[in-house]
């Protein structure tokens, strides 16, 4: 069985990348072990098509972001059209199709954080790192992201540094943390 590569050019824009090489089932041609882990996870979910979001979560956890290659691998195994997988991956904010920087800084922009000055925190980091939310610095050190609400409103404004939530952050606190990474 071969991956349906002809779908790719129609749906995915991979200008800079050469087309993905077709892979033999069930292993991935690259020999990357993470594909095997992903496949085992899908098997655990009985290759159910409605488990697509769960599978994509796992894929993002393994790879850090969702490459075209990974999306096609998932589509193939769940017997879903790649358009459906791509559609779901782009619909939800949690999934990212671009690689993230070495460190991530997620500023919560929920209402509680906003009225307590989260916008100033974002502005300070924007100014320092010269990137906008959703972007990564050219040296790949830092990705700046904003979250809708991480539910930590009692300790607003909250910022998540590499997955760790920090409470009551001022622009200076955030800058100090970000500078320590650079």
């Amino acid at each position: 069985m071969r991956l349906p590569t002809h779908f790719m050019s129609a749906i995915l824009t991979t200008a800079e990348k050469p087309p993905v090489k077709p892979a033999a089932d069930p292993k991935h041609a690259s020999g990357d072990k993470r594909f095997k882990i992903l496949e085992v996870h899908m098997k655990k979910l009985q290759f159910k098509q409605d488990a697509l979001i769960e599978v994509l979560h796992k894929a993002q956890e393994l790879f850090g972001y969702l490459e075209d290659d990974v999306l096609l691998f998932v589509a193939h195994h769940l017997k879903l059209p790649p358009s459906r997988v791509y559609g779901v991956a782009t619909f939800y904010h949690f999934f990212t199709l671009k690689p993230q920087g070495e460190h991530t800084c997620v500023v919560c922009m929920g209402t509680a954080c906003y009225v307590k000055g989260a916008d100033k925190v974002v502005a300070a980091i924007e100014k320092f790192a010269k990137i906008k939310p959703g972007e990564t610095t050219p040296d790949n050190k830092l990705s700046l992201l904003t979250a809708r609400c991480i539910g930590a409103c009692g300790i607003a404004p909250a910022v998540t540094y590499d997955g760790q939530v920090a409470a009551k952050q001022s622009p200076d606190d955030a800058l100090a943390k970000v500078k320590s990474w650079m």
């Binding site: 697509l52 009225v115 539910g151």
Partner: protein, 543 residues
């Protein structure tokens, strides 16, 4: 598993308890301030000071007073608990030393503070008391007894009746009578039915559901199981946001433990009733809080809503009758079964029964979670429990209902908090977020903040919402940039009306609410930013 086994687990667990219990809040808020290190240090300190025999350090869920966190509570020393606030990991030794009578200069909270004293706890009764990762703790306080009683002594119709009698209304925000919903699903024909618990708490500024799931996951599971029995379902889905990793992991633990004891699975309590629960993790889409969109997401598709009818109660998940309720709604069920619908109906107002959990945040002294009876005046919540605005500022308005709600100005603070009264003011009860704004807050900016949110979160399926929110945001930006005229404001109002009345789902239908309510009460703030209209009707021709 039978009731005797359940009681045996409870007795054994109670017997194993030590005299003094040091409770460490390990909910997401306090965890961010290294509550895990605090707990480890407390355990170490207990050992070092040789108090092993009498003192146990317990992991607990949210204690509510998040703004004062991290919190450590001590039971068994005085009549009331002793609550330490703003604890740092290095304070562990001195906390444990207080058990020996050594004075400390740590911050001690007042248990009679209105923040605590004015609460009526039903949903959050166990929050901050039991260990959310131990099913024994939940069983020891009478957990799963209600499920046992329902399965062995009640008919499904009786359960629905009891819930109807309680007057419980959907806690997700719209306030649809829960009993009526259950009855409809129960009556819907179909061999396969589903239960969905909506834990996609997307409203920014709201974290009640997160706290309930993190602090008392079994309470929600029990509520779901009772609902499943009442409507005739055997499969449940718990839809939780990906932003709540701690809640997800605690739910996974809870489901595993309940399955191991035979409280979930097949033949529960040796009756023919089967019920399984699977967790579905959201992926960051606000629209998935809308029930039809949520079901699409559970099916692994893009979360776009569809027109109703057919309502989920008739044709929902995978085309089967589906009961979909909010986390807090399910969390109320156990208490209603245990104490009766009449007892529940005795709390609250005529049309809004029971209690409601609110997340009190923003420009307010005491931030955190509170559970209050319906009908309590807003002033009591904001001024007494919340302590008013900090730094000597004045409270200007209270935002309820998130992006679907509105801003209630300070002059209406005496309004009782119930579904109808808030609706009358142009806001909604919503899921329970309550963001307080002081007199430094610019209301036009707030309206823009919410509009930007709705524009980003619009799924794009229907045009009024997709294009309308973008246009409204443009107009708001224009007003803020002082480039708009009276005509733009009129256009904005027209757009609000159009989007409100023609959008497909709740997201679009309520998206204009923050604009409409700020326009209603703070119109002057908009008008101050307007520029004279050089070309409109009535303008003097310039030459």
């Amino acid at each position: 598993m039978q009731i005797e086994d359940l009681n045996a687990i409870a007795e054994k667990h109670i017997a194993s308890r030590k005299k003094i219990i040091v409770r460490t809040c390990m909910s997401a808020g306090c965890m961010s301030s290294r509550a895990d290190v605090i707990k480890a240090n407390l355990e170490k300190a207990v050992k070092e000071q040789g108090l092993d025999a009498d003192v146990e350090v317990r992991r607990v869920g949210c204690m509510g007073f998040c703004g004062q966190g991290p919190l450590v509570g001590i039971d068994g020393v005085k009549e009331k608990e002793i609550l330490f606030e703003h604890i740092k990991p290095e304070d562990a030794d001195s906390i444990i030393a207080t058990l020996k009578g050594v004075e400390s200069n740590l911050e001690i909270g007042d248990p009679n503070h209105p923040f605590f004293a004015k609460q009526t706890k039903i949903v959050r009764a166990n929050g901050g008391i039991i260990d959310p990762e131990k099913i024994e703790d939940y069983i020891a306080i009478g957990g799963y007894e209600a499920l046992h009683n329902v399965l062995t002594e009640m008919q499904p119709t009786q359960v629905v009746e009891e819930v109807t009698k309680s007057g419980l209304r959907g806690r997700g925000g719209a306030g649809f009578p829960t009993g009526l919903k259950w009855g409809t699903v129960a009556k819907s024909p179909g061999a396969k039915k589903y239960i969905i618990c909506n834990g996609d708490e997307g409203d920014p500024g709201a974290f009640m559901d997160r706290s309930v799931l993190e602090s008392d996951p079994h309470l929600v599971l029990e509520g779901m199981a009772i609902a499943a029995y009442a409507v005739g379902a055997d499969q449940g889905f718990l839809y939780v946001r990906a932003e709540y990793p701690l809640a997800i992991s605690r739910l996974q633990i809870a489901i595993k433990q309940a399955k191991a004891l035979g409280i979930l699975g097949s033949g529960i309590f040796e009756t023919p009733f089967n019920f399984n629960v699977d967790i579905r993790i959201g992926a960051g889409a606000f629209v998935c809080g809308e029930e039809t969109a949520l079901m699409m997401s559970v099916e692994g598709k893009r979360g776009t809503p569809r027109p109703r009818p057919p309502f989920p109660a008739e044709s929902g998940l995978f085309g089967c009758p589906t009961l979909i309720n909010n986390v807090e709604s399910f969390a109320n069920i156990t208490a209603i079964i245990k104490k009766g619908g009449d007892w529940y109906a005795s709390i609250g107002t005529e049309k809004s029964k029971g209690t409601k959990v609110f997340a009190l945040t923003g420009k307010i002294k005491n931030t955190g979670l509170i559970e209050v009876p319906m009908g309590i005046p807003l002033r009591q919540i904001v001024m007494e429990m919340g302590g008013g605005a900090p730094d000597g500022r004045q409270v200007k308005s209270v935002q309820t209902g998130g992006p679907s709600g509105g801003c209630i100005p300070a002059q209406f603070l005496d309004t009782p908090v119930d579904y109808e009264s808030l609706m009358k003011l142009g806001s909604i009860m919503g899921s329970g977020g309550m963001v307080v704004m002081d007199d430094t807050t610019n209301m036009v900016e707030i309206a823009k903040f919410y509009m930007e949110f709705c524009k980003d979160e619009s799924c794009g399926k229907c045009i009024p919402c997709r294009a309308g929110t973008a246009q409204m945001e443009n107009l708001l930006n224009k007003i803020i940039a002082r480039q708009a005229t009276q005509r733009d404001l009129t256009k904005l109002e027209e757009l609000c009306d159009m989007v409100k009345n023609t959008s497909l789902c709740g997201l679009g239908q309520t998206a204009p609410n923050p604009v409409l309510s700020t326009l209603k009460y703070f119109r002057n703030e908009y008008e101050e930013l307007l520029q004279p209209d050089k070309f409109g009707p009535g303008a003097t021709a310039t030459k």
